[in-house]
């Protein structure tokens, strides 16, 4: 028996058969269960004030996601406004240099420059059905803030974006974009003044007026049903990628890589590949400058399960249960938690979680610029750096990267670091 997990649960699964059984439950949509759990992970750890809003969101989302009118509106806006489907591209030169066949899923070409728009559009359309009057969001790198601001402008909602003061400074171009798109940007001076403090502050706003506000959470974290909603809206990335690989390459990849902060791009990419046992999946965490506490944001690599921002999942924390400080050159990965489905996929060993250092990610930005003519965001550059390492002992394999965002927003930090 534990304080947070159901008594009956035998966890973690100890044999291959048990692990396969747990994966099968996820694939049959038995996870998340009625309490929002993936095995022991997930749940709804929020103040009582938010429970009615969360219950309403869960109920309305279930209706909308089975409603043809909603789905066709999502599909149509996805095509004409976001620019779906995004291309699959053969990274010719890097393939030759690294001795593998490397493909990029070009989410950097999605409207506003990252995968974040897929979820922002989905949740804003959903918010219309909830009858709320305003949208709030948090942002780290600014991509989710820009996507939310754009979707609110498109659909017609007032929007406030909470952004840590540190991130306001290091992602200045995105701050201006959000303002032009009509959003109010609220710099957060409390806490660690990055993404984590922005989520704390957005939750405080939501608690103040829960029934008139929709909190448009951008990462695969938070209380149920957020991790499920984000995965649902981001899974288009993996579904398209899988079909495009089969169509243009004629086979599935041997390995798929995606960066992981909270884990929205990774869960969207991985989920449609989970049943393909031949496809190895790698989530790449921010290794920062080293392994000591405070030098990185590698939650699964260095953390242990705990509760933050409404869910039970892996967490960087000290022995007294205080949330740990993080570092990453990339604002989008600079977060001490991770989505509960990732914790589950780690525990059943379906996804391997590894790290790339700040310096390796910066090298990968250079590699990608020079050889492929693409300035990638710092976040997927971590995954690209991991591919470079992995390729050394896996020559001749076919590898897919979720190139989940473009690097324009990183110009201030790249100019200081490169």
């Amino acid at each position: 028996m534990s304080i947070v997990t159901p008594e009956a649960l035998v966890w973690p699964p100890r044999t291959d058969a048990d692990r396969a059984d747990e994966l099968a439950k996820l694939l049959r949509a038995e996870y998340p269960d009625s309490s929002g759990r993936y095995g022991p992970f997930g749940g709804r750890f929020v103040p009582e004030t938010l429970m009615p809003a969360i219950t309403r969101l869960e109920r309305e989302a279930a209706i909308a996601l089975n409603d043809m009118a909603f789905l066709s509106q999502l599909e149509s806006e996805g095509r004409s406004w976001i620019g779906r489907e995004t291309p699959l591209m053969h990274a010719r030169t890097l393939s030759k240099l690294w001795g593998i066949s490397l493909y990029f899923k070009r989410e950097d070409l999605a409207h506003t420059g990252a995968h974040k728009i897929n979820n922002a559009l989905g949740q804003v359309l959903l918010a219309k059905r909830l009858g709320v009057k305003r949208i709030i969001a948090e942002t780290g790198a600014g991509q989710h803030g820009v996507a939310t601001a754009a979707a609110c402008a498109r659909v017609g909602f007032p929007c406030r974006v909470y952004m840590g003061a540190v991130d306001v400074e290091r992602q200045a171009p995105n701050v201006q974009r959000m303002k032009w798109l009509g959003a109010e940007v609220f710099p957060v001076e409390s806490g660690d003044r990055t993404l984590r403090a922005a989520i704390d502050e957005a939750l405080r706003d939501w608690v103040a007026d829960p029934m008139n506000t929709h909190y448009l959470l951008g990462s695969a974290v938070g209380p149920h049903p957020f991790p499920l909603l984000v995965r649902t809206f981001q899974s288009i990335v993996g579904r398209e990628s899988r079909a495009q690989m089969l169509e243009s390459v004629g086979r599935l990849p041997d390995a798929v890589f995606a960066c992981v902060g909270g884990g929205s791009n990774a869960i969207g990419m991985f989920h449609p590949f989970l049943a393909d046992s031949s496809v190895r999946l790698f989530g790449v965490e921010a290794g920062g400058t080293g392994d000591a506490a405070g030098q990185h944001s590698a939650t699964i690599t260095h953390g242990r399960p705990g509760v933050l921002h409404g869910c039970y999942s892996y967490l960087l924390q000290d022995s007294a249960g205080q949330v740990g400080d993080t570092h990453s050159v990339s604002a989008g990965l600079d977060y001490p938690g991770i989505g509960p489905e990732h914790s589950f996929l780690h525990a059943i060993q379906r996804v391997s979680y590894i790290t790339a250092l700040d310096a390796q990610a910066l090298d990968a930005v250079r590699d990608c610029c020079r050889n492929e003519g693409i300035l990638p965001a710092l976040e997927p550059s971590h995954a690209l750096a991991a591919i470079k390492q992995w390729a050394k002992s896996n020559q001749g394999t076919t590898v897919l990267l979720n190139l989940c965002g473009r690097g324009d927003k990183d110009m201030p930090i790249l100019m200081r670091n490169m």
């Binding site: 304080i3 008594e7 309490s35 004030t49 009615p52 933050l308 007294a320």
Partner: protein
């Protein structure tokens, strides 16, 4: 009867205002903690001891700041329980621990119940643990001591059937959050225009007292003697947190502030 319930009811019997002061343990210093408890206990119906947390999402600026200061002094749940154990028998009122869930998880599950009991804790208030997630914790506490339980919070947006569930499940008292928003008040745009005891709040508190066997304690935004006077007839106890922390931050004595709040009764 639960010791907190008994204590709150004894104030009503004396026609005295039942106050539940909240202190962030270790604010502004570790040394102040014991002094504060000793000073407050003779006046309080219960003391709510706040465990500082790095990410207090239900708290306003005041308790965010006091929590950060306490953490900088090295305050932890383990330290708090040790201090309470050493004060056991010296405090004239029951103690409730208010902690976010994650610090509770840092103590080994099988040790938590015994440590709470040896610290003399009568109940836990866990702001990020809604009723349907609280079963395992309640089982652990109950297996240690049938009276040791979780105080449930109710808010103005809680639907009627859920209010009843929460009232049935609570331990010691029912925590009636009087407004949506974080602790300390002041964030809600409408709150400045409406009185803390406007008709909707009074009706809300009356509806809770009608369904709750446990006393109903109102909290969030109670800051002045006027607030205490206005709300006192409508609740069994009043919780005072941020205003007390601010007074402590200004260097005032906590017991003097509590007397000030009840001075115009």
């Amino acid at each position: 009867m639960h010791p907190i319930t008994t204590s709150i009811r004894s104030f009503a019997a004396r026609s005295a205002p039942a106050l539940i002061p909240y202190v962030t343990a270790g604010f502004p210093t570790k040394a102040a903690f014991g002094e504060q408890l000793r000073a407050l206990a003779p006046l309080a119906a219960t003391i709510e001891v706040g465990v500082p947390f790095s990410d207090p999402m239900a708290d306003g600026v005041t308790i965010q700041t006091s929590s950060r200061v306490a953490l900088e002094q090295g305050v932890s749940l383990a330290w708090i329980l040790d201090e309470l154990s050493s004060l056991r028998g010296q405090l004239a009122c029951p103690i409730a621990i208010m902690s976010y869930l994650n610090p509770l998880l840092s103590i080994r599950m099988e040790d938590l119940g015994p440590r709470l009991v040896s610290a003399g804790v009568s109940a836990l208030i866990v702001p990020d643990l809604p009723l349907q997630e609280s079963g395992p914790l309640r089982d652990i506490l109950a297996s240690q001591d049938p009276e040791l339980g979780v105080v449930q919070m109710v808010t103005p947006v809680t639907p009627p059937d859920r209010r009843r569930q929460l009232a049935n499940a609570t331990t010691g008292f029912l925590y009636a959050v009087t407004s949506t928003g974080v602790t300390g008040g002041g964030r809600v745009p409408t709150q400045s225009q409406s009185s803390i005891a406007d008709p909707s709040v009074i009706e809300y508190l009356a509806s809770l007292r009608a369904i709750s066997a446990a006393p109903v304690a109102a909290g969030f935004g109670i800051r002045t003697p006027e607030h205490v006077r206005a709300l006192r007839p409508h609740a069994d106890a009043l919780i005072v947190g941020s205003a007390l922390i601010e007074a402590i931050g200004r260097g005032e004595k906590p017991d003097a502030f509590l007397r000030h709040l009840t001075s115009e009764q």
